[in-house]
């Protein structure tokens, strides 16, 4: 046991000595939270708009002011032809072109049908659709404000209640995702690399002939990373709570216990990859493409799983991060107790078991 502790100490010194790695390990989660919190958003404001106003009368001018006053649209240029508009689309300077037909004011007061064209750069389909919806809504509200008619306004009000996340705070979604991602990154990637490194440099053989049991060697190498990633998880939860007011409604102890469970999955994956790779490059590429990408894409963190094609939904069932994110959300946002998350935790536990057995078998084949 004494020699084991000494070994962990040695490994910890290795990590602490490398200050740049430490900075990045702690800087990364903070940077991610800040990026997600402040820069990555789907809501739009200041969309660049060009107007092609064929009538140029006071009322059409009012319509344009009405559109830009909302803060959603920013008028970049008034164009005089469709070709000019096309050029602006080509450079990407403008995303929406509004075409107002001639005699706008006259037709408006004569109660005629006026069609306003909304031309969007649909290479970004979702953005184009959102712009069109907003612009037509603004145009309808302009009509309501300016038209005189004797007919009652027929409208349907939709009273919407957002359950569990009433103000639609993005942080409720990304904080759990960032935790899942960071733990996978540090715990799985870093461990696979440290072990692969010993192999590549040939120092693994030196360690193996030492009186320490091979399992203890692996454990000693990974322990500092477990501690590091756990601290990182705490930092992200803390930032979520303090900056973005993401609550932890359920039991904190349960949440942290299950975080450790997920850490073990990541760890097992890291060790499995390291037993399969002989160089750090291989270990890194395998981790990148089999762990990190799937964790970002198929965990439901950024893209909703339910909208994906069937075969991806099936693949997503073996992504540990998917279950961990569901557990996090249930405990943090819904205040779920153990019973509600027991099933998902069971799946994670099963993954730990299977992965460790696989890693152990690989390990034995190599170091017998």
């Amino acid at each position: 046991m004494r020699s084991f502790i000494a070994f962990i100490k040695k490994e910890t010194f290795h990590i602490l000595r490398d200050t740049r790695t430490l900075y990045i390990l702690f800087g990364m989660p903070i940077a991610l939270v800040l990026i997600f919190g402040y820069t990555v958003t789907n809501e739009f404001k200041n969309a660049s708009v060009a107007v092609y106003d064929k009538s140029n009368d006071p009322l059409s001018g009012q319509l344009i002011r009405h559109l830009t006053s909302s803060g959603h649209f920013r008028l970049i240029k008034a164009v005089r032809s469709v070709e000019e508009l096309e050029d602006l689309f080509m450079t990407g300077d403008v995303k929406l072109g509004i075409m107002i037909p001639a005699h706008f004011e006259k037709n408006f007061h004569d109660h005629k049908v006026i069609s306003i064209q909304l031309i969007t750069d649909a290479t970004e389909p979702n953005y184009a659709a959102t712009l069109t919806t907003y612009a037509s809504r603004m145009i309808q509200s302009f009509k309501k404000k300016n038209a005189v008619g004797s007919m009652p306004q027929f409208t349907i009000d939709i009273e919407t209640r957002m359950l569990y996340n009433p103000t639609l705070i993005g942080a409720y979604n990304f904080i759990p995702g960032v935790v899942a991602l960071i733990l996978m990154l540090i715990c799985a990637m870093m461990t696979s690399l440290t072990i692969a490194r010993e192999k590549e440099l040939g120092t693994m053989d030196l360690l193996l002939v030492s009186p320490l049991n091979p399992i203890l060697i692996i454990l000693g190498k990974v322990t500092p990373y477990i501690v590091l990633s756990f601290i990182n998880a705490l930092v992200v939860f803390g930032m979520g709570y303090l900056i973005f007011e993401v609550p932890i409604r359920g039991s904190m102890v349960l949440l942290l216990a299950l975080t450790v469970l997920y850490l073990l999955v990541a760890l097992a994956l890291g060790i499995l990859i390291s037993t399969k790779s002989n160089t750090q490059q291989t270990a890194m590429m395998s981790s990148l493409f089999t762990l990190l990408m799937p964790t970002i894409l198929l965990s439901g963190f950024i893209f909703p799983i339910a909208s994906m094609p069937k075969f991806l939904q099936v693949i997503s069932m073996i992504i540990p991060a998917k279950y961990f994110i569901m557990i996090e959300k249930a405990i943090m946002l819904k205040g779920a107790d153990w019973n509600a998350v027991a099933f998902y935790s069971g799946i994670l536990a099963l993954m730990v078991l299977v992965l460790f057995i696989a890693a152990w078998r690989n390990f034995k084949v190599i170091y017998k």
Binding site: T123, Q280, P304
Partner: protein, 374 residues
């Protein structure tokens, strides 16, 4: 010049010899491209909906019919009471509950005001909230239809006031195909990541396993060494782009409206910038682990702020400036503009210039930071 040829040959031998890294460099990115394009197709579908119809009138039936026709929703159930629907929500059997209150139609005809209630499970992020937005659009369409019917029978045509019709025109992508949007961007991203990671780990690897000493005692010059390291990866990156483009064409039928030479020319400039950054990181790192982590730190930030998944326009202003030194942001922009819109060199000249400048800066740093003797 002969020396440069030798160094390039050495690199190629080393790359091709490594049986483990070769598939990771070729097959895996392609699989990623396919999977990613499918996964990132963020058209929201299969939203699970429960409808509580307490009105049971022609109008409410019409609404339900309209929702059924839009294929975005799966109508899970038509529970008889609000309580039953709430229960479904709690068990996570429904994303949205729509309640049509009793006397909905009667009230609408009499006062011109209708009321509907939506309960949205906002925890699932996009699925439910985007679903609710779709539902809102359907309800507005339903309102227009109902209104037209009522006004036609009750009111004379003139009293209706002007009608402002909005006609959407979706240029370059009339079917709003999301895969056409994602695939080019992802190609750019994957090529960049792969090249940057491989170069970043390259020189530091030689240093870590000691082979750099052997190179250091040869008469090779600094720039020859750097170029020798760059050219192989440049070639690999270009080949990968060619393969990616073919797959995008064959599998997703991505349109090639612009000139492919422009795409490859830009890719060349972009890769020199990325290679420079990778080599610089490699030079200032002591271990491969450190190099990888540093690269990762940049790559993740580059990707998230590249406009690949969320439009750059939606970012706050300070963040938009931060995308200027981001090679992935330019790559994604150029790929989309040239392939989907057919932009010419002059249209994207800004990206070309900025990337060339970045390339110059990164490569200068790479050459300056490389030392033969410690």
């Amino acid at each position: 010049m002969r020396r440069l040829g030798y160094i390039i040959r050495k690199e190629f031998i080393q790359i091709l010899r490594n049986k483990a890294i070769l598939p990771l460099m070729t097959i895996v990115p392609i699989v990623q491209l396919i999977l990613l394009t499918f996964a990132a197709d963020s058209e929201v579908e299969n939203v699970r909906l429960a409808i509580v119809d307490l009105d049971r009138s022609p109008a409410s039936r019409l609404l339900i019919q309209k929702i059924t026709y839009a294929d975005r929703f799966i109508i899970e159930d038509l529970p008889a009471s609000v309580r039953q629907a709430d229960f479904m929500m709690q068990n996570d059997d429904a994303d949205i509950v729509l309640t049509i209150p009793g006397q909905f139609e009667k009230h609408y005809l009499k006062t011109g005001q209708g009321q509907l209630q939506l309960l949205v499970n906002a925890i699932n992020g996009q699925q439910a909230t985007v679903g609710a937005a779709y539902l809102g659009t359907i309800i507005q369409g339903f309102n227009e239809e109902l209104k037209l019917e009522v006004t036609r029978t009750v009111f004379p045509a003139q009293a209706a006031g002007p009608i402002l019709k909005t006609e959407p025109a979706y240029w370059f992508n009339p079917n709003l195909n999301f895969k056409h949007f994602m695939a080019p961007g992802i190609m750019g991203e994957l090529v960049t990541i792969l090249v940057m990671l491989l170069t970043a780990m390259n020189i530091v690897r030689e240093r870590e396993i000691g082979t750099i000493e052997q190179i250091n005692v040869t008469p090779i010059r600094k720039w020859e060494f750097i170029l020798g390291k760059m050219i192989p990866f440049l070639i690999i990156g270009m080949i990968l782009l060619a393969v990616g483009l073919s797959i995008g064409k064959i599998l997703f039928d991505v349109p090639f409206r612009g000139n492919l030479i422009v795409v490859f020319a830009y890719c060349f400039v972009n890769l020199t910038a990325v290679l420079g950054l990778g080599l610089f990181i490699s030079n200032i790192s002591d271990t491969q682990q450190q190099a990888m982590l540093t690269t990762f730190f940049f790559v993740i930030i580059f990707i998230l702020m590249s406009g690949l998944f969320t439009p750059i326009e939606s970012m706050p202003e300070f963040a938009q400036y931060l995308t200027i030194p981001n090679p992935i942001a330019h790559f994604v922009h150029v790929m989309r503009s040239v392939l989907l819109k057919g932009s010419s060199v002059t249209d994207i000249s800004y990206s070309f210039k900025v990337t060339a400048l970045l390339s110059f800066i990164f490569n200068t740093l790479a050459v300056l930071s490389y030392r033969k003797v410690n």
